[in-house]
Symmetry: C2
Subunit: 273 residues, 2 copies
Amino acid sequence: MAQTPPASSPRTPEVNPPSFGSEAGQAVSGSATPAFSPLYQQIKGLLLQSLQAGEWKPGDLIPSELELAGRFRVSQGTVRKAIDELSADNLLVRRQGKGTFVATHSEQQVQYRFLRLEPDSGNRDGQGPAERQILDFRRLRAPAEIAHRLGLRSGDPVFEVRRVLSFQGTPTILEDLWLPGSPFKGLSLETLANHQGAMYALFERQFGVRMVRADERLKAVAADAESAATLGVAASFPLLSVERVAYTYNDTPMEYRRGLYRTDKHHYHNELS
Amino acid sequence: MAQTPPASSPRTPEVNPPSFGSEAGQAVSGSATPAFSPLYQQIKGLLLQSLQAGEWKPGDLIPSELELAGRFRVSQGTVRKAIDELSADNLLVRRQGKGTFVATHSEQQVQYRFLRLEPDSGNRDGQGPAERQILDFRRLRAPAEIAHRLGLRSGDPVFEVRRVLSFQGTPTILEDLWLPGSPFKGLSLETLANHQGAMYALFERQFGVRMVRADERLKAVAADAESAATLGVAASFPLLSVERVAYTYNDTPMEYRRGLYRTDKHHYHNELS
DNA sequence: GAGTGGTCTAGACCACCTT
DNA sequence: AGGTGGTCTAGACCACTCC
């Protein structure tokens, strides 16, 4: 920055100085709400904007810390702290010597980041990849509850997908999912059926929609006749019901999903801390 | 530190210098394994030792960053980074202007940090505190599976507790839990029955055992006759089975727990990211 | 060797809490 | 006023990757 060594001389960064006035040292923080936001949070916000705007896409290399520091007229340390947090939130991934990249669901290592079902014995790799089968695909007008979960209005167009995931030939997960029509315009059965790998990777590549976090609600339920038949279990077999709302940047809901998991040979794993 | 401004002169901190030799600049990182560990990680390790050793107990104020920096002969920034990570792991809690404290389960705000069951409508506060009832308490020799989960040997003494948690008068959780005998020596039915609040708070206060993280495995199961009767549901009612191993510092297992949750009016909430 | 992220330092100042 | 954590800077050097 344009600043002489021995302290003093307040910064005048590009980012809007939050609490201290634009010039003349630090204001006594007026009268109303504090509303103080540190510089690195502002930088974080700016980086988030670029991510939301699609300026940098999943997998992309973003500018170096030094370049960003220059662009925002702050020190490298401040940019680092902003990136640290975005990286902790799984929005960015640092790679020493190479740079910082936009996180993606397309990497082998995080293929099933949101799928918490694991075989009771052995690890996930041991059972091979999941076999996917689309049972149904349609475009419809959102019923009240679906609309509510997706932050839409009743009647807004949505896509509905029903599919089964099998492990080693055993149908294990039956799920319905709903996607808002606009962001996924052009989604087709063919696209879904031809795609290999995690569904969220497809969403990124084809629609630029990156799922960032999700909320799940779990319950134990008895299988209804249809579900039981699809999953190959007896009627009223206990199943794990997993209801998920997945969000993209900005906490915008982008998917509502209802799954029924067989848990006789698998379990839902969760780490508490 | 004793160090003149313009660079050079390698540090000679109290902590064992990891990869670069004790003197004469930076070694070319010999031949064998990298084994490089940054200073702040070493500091983190030292702080962890103090926590494990019980030098600072849950709720205690630990020395200030500046004092720790002096003690370890490193800069404040390095101590900060170590504390940052311990704080992110919920082992320490920073409070601006006051200091850094050892995290505890005894605070109101985190009373149910490990209990993910929530009412379907309304929040947790709306339903009032859980009513606890101890059904059984005994001291026994660990069967093979319990011993295995707790990292003990079959036949080692353990405590077994069976209890019910009710919300607004409705029995909702039935759980059995096992604790290793040695760390919990002196545990009695009276202690358990008289205690108000989260069980993990009791463990901290009475036994100095702090639960730091836990692994849970969830399944949907059908209620057996006894569980159904206790929880007031029909036989083979679907219940959420929650199996938990809780760990203290150092990843030492300190509790094995098997719970059966009614999920007709509650759900298990999980956030994915 | 150049470029990137990663570590470490030293010092200034701010925000918050206590006395 | 003095102490604590929180932010920000500037600069040095290290580890890693690629050319």
